[in-house]
């Protein structure tokens, strides 16, 4: 299992790094999906297969497919990759790199000074424990999450609608779903 973890971690890091340097959105998306799948594998090694399944079903399966859907609706041509290349200049990496290094320093310091706690709890929490926690102490959280999702639903519905009303002739630019 250790080996699996380190392999998945390596895949996750590399694919994630590739996400942010890609010129083509779909390729970036594929790397992102790969990153998420490796994260799911890591979850399994961390004793959380339930969440790993959710990660794949919801993150990789539903959220990412939304991205694919939107990309297909936008149907960006080949010129967008050139535009990306133009936007990505070497100098832009400096600031984020400094920030990242600062954070790295923080993390290393933290890990250095914090006492080493080794060993894990004997039993990993399964779906049953998660469910009981969700509908026990976290019930309010579940309710809030459902309200949030409802708000997201209403919000995206509204946004999607108003486009058509304001720009009737451009509404067809999205293509597919109307015919």
């Amino acid at each position: 299992m250790e080996g699996v973890f380190y392999m998945a971690a390596a895949v996750a890091v590399i694919s994630t790094a590739l996400v942010i340097v890609q010129m083509n959105v779909v390729h970036a998306l594929l790397y992102l999906i790969l990153s998420l799948l490796s994260a799911a594998v890591i979850f399994v090694t961390l004793g959380a297969p339930f969440v790993a399944a959710l990660e794949v079903i919801i993150y990789a399966g539903a959220i990412m497919i939304l991205f694919v859907f939107v990309i297909m609706m936008l149907n960006l041509g080949t010129q967008s990759a050139g535009m990306e290349r133009q936007w990505m200049r070497a100098g832009m990496w400096a600031g984020p790199a400094v920030l990242a290094l600062l954070l790295l320093a923080d993390v290393i310091y933290m890990l250095a000074v914090s006492p080493r706690v080794s060993g894990y709890a004997a039993k990993a929490a399964g779906p049953r424990e998660v469910g009981i926690a969700l509908f026990g102490p976290y019930l309010i959280g579940v309710e809030l999450a459902s309200v949030l999702l409802l708000a997201g639903l209403v919000g995206s519905f509204h946004l999607g609608r108003s486009v058509r009303q304001r720009l009737p002739e451009e509404g067809e630019a999205g293509g597919g779903e109307g015919d």
Binding site: L30, V56, I57, A60, I65, V68, M72, N75, P127, G175
Partner: protein, 321 residues
Amino acid sequence: MGKTVPETIRHLIIVFGVLAVMMSIAAGLIWVERRLLGFWQDRYGPNRVGPFGILQPLADMIKVFAKEDWVPPFADRPVFILAPAIIVVTVLLAFAVVPFAPSISVADLNVGLLYFLALSSLGVYSVALGGWASDNKYALIGALRASAQMISYEVFMGLSLMGVVMLAGSFNLRAIVEAQRRLWFVVPQFFGFVIFLIAGVAETHRLPFDLPEAESELVAGFHSEYSGMKFGLFFVGEYLGITLISALIATFFFGGWLGPLLPPAVWFFIKTFFFIGVFILLRATLPRPRYDQLIRLGWKVMLPLALANLVVTGGIILAAG
């Protein structure tokens, strides 16, 4: 994981056995479907290659392998190549959790049902990316349709199974089968069964829900630009999908391997083939709906039905203690 050598060998045999069986079933279905369609449409179907045309899949395979492996120059090459592989890989991986018999399954995951849902949700990418990478407007429209259809139907495919999970009290497929010793879940979960069947047809985009590849409007939908073995992979993936859904219907609602007299694995295959037959019968008899009708059916009929089923089931379980 301290496993003894014989155990490991047994495990490997199961893995490769399942792989081989599934691939041959998928291949065999090419012949079965055409023969059955012929039977229901009062004609012969393939009957020249071998006795009853039973070697027809072999001939097709030779043809497909021999074709030129051609990628359109305007296509996004890596994605174009990746897409057909995804569907085959995901469906084959999903078979890992199917319990063919009490002791025959590749992996006995305690979240097996979620594992199946996860992989089936990944199958969308095959269609969507294939259509997008082709850079062809019919293919793109087909891909859009496919992804919208599959996201929609995935929602209540998952919901319809939750009733089964509630009754069995587990995500483990083996436990679900064991829970049906007294009564097949098709009885208490009849609506769940109906929803799952319809969603399964939509997930595998088989007729009558084959709008992503509707020949009459979209040439061939998302795989318009595909040929040779890449097309063959889509084809095989579809048959594998049918087999998977049939196997799972048998597992979830018809007691899996349970049955008198005959060995468990035989019972399992009998049930699975019955539902494969149902799939083909559906193709032979039902007309294709319009796309908006399909989506409307999903969100306005199936989803409320699935939710109601869930609520009623939960209520009864609570009431019964």
